[in-house]
Symmetry: C2
Subunit: 166 residues, 2 copies
């Protein structure tokens, strides 16, 4: 997986939701097998191996879904959304809302594979033109179509603080 | 405010985030002044009058932003998203994700004033065509351009359970 290789190549670690299922399972194994740091944060209810598969890297067990998100947000230096469904979009929106509320000032990246997220980006632009969002809040989002392009931009934006989190 | 009048006319109560600022402040006062039930759920950190204005209707004070959302979700019989920014979209996505996870089976309505949410709806359709979302999960969302049309559809979908929450 190309994003995994890029993270390893640049010495950037991965913080994710733990376990080994789905696209994040693939990514976490790619980073670990390449020798990169992997931290999984998982609620205790999801720790059974039947639910989440074997753990990858270092696993931190928390009590709730909410605690998981807060822990991941505090460990990471920036955030990357891959293509996904409702849950992915919810997590992306949560990081953007927390940024608006001043809970963090970390850059938020969107990996726009084959323009998947174009309609969402149009939605954000519409929020600005209709006055529901400030341009500066829209500009938090860094959008690139390739992993290397996205990481380049996140590193530029986040500066040195982005060097040890993913 | 037209949505407020529709809720009052049909004897449907409003559950919202409390206080009297912003568009939800306007809506809550419209419902209360029309004689409708209003319940505000607010975290203690936001209760000072300088932050949220005077409370409207019955106010329930909770500890955290997360508890607020969980309380509102359990009190309401359906959900309505008005046009808004990151925070609104985050709340909409959270209710959709919770539905996917089986935490509730309440209908989720989008008030699509002057087609504001069209790009977001296109995003949801793209999630389905790319396999990130099941059509049945997409179909949870009821989208109408007018308050009366939206409430009609929500009542149809939610049946009797939708009669005493908003
Ligand atoms: Mg959320």
């Amino acid at each position: 997986m190309e994003l995994g290789k890029e993270l390893v190549r640049r010495g950037i670690g991965l913080v994710y939701g733990g376990g080994s299922v789905g696209i994040m399972g693939v990514l976490s194994r790619a980073v670990q097998e390449g020798g990169g740091d992997v931290v999984g944060v998982i609620p205790e209810a999801l720790t059974p191996i039947e639910l989440s598969g074997p753990m990858v890297g270092t696993t931190i067990v928390v009590r709730t879904m909410h605690e998981r998100k807060a822990k991941m947000a505090s460990l990471a230096d920036c955030f990357i959304a891959l293509p996904g469904g409702y849950g992915t979009l919810e997590e992306l929106m949560e990081m953007l809302t927390w940024s608006n509320l001043g809970f963090h000032s970390k850059p938020v990246g969107v990996l726009n594979v084959v323009n998947y997220y174009d309609p969402l980006l149009q939605m954000f632009d519409r929020m600005v033109t209709t006055g529901f969002l400030l341009q500066a809040q829209r500009d938090i989002i860094i959008c690139e179509s390739t992993p290397s392009g996205l990481i380049d931009q996140l590193l530029l934006r986040g500066g040195e603080t982005a060097r040890d989190g993913g």
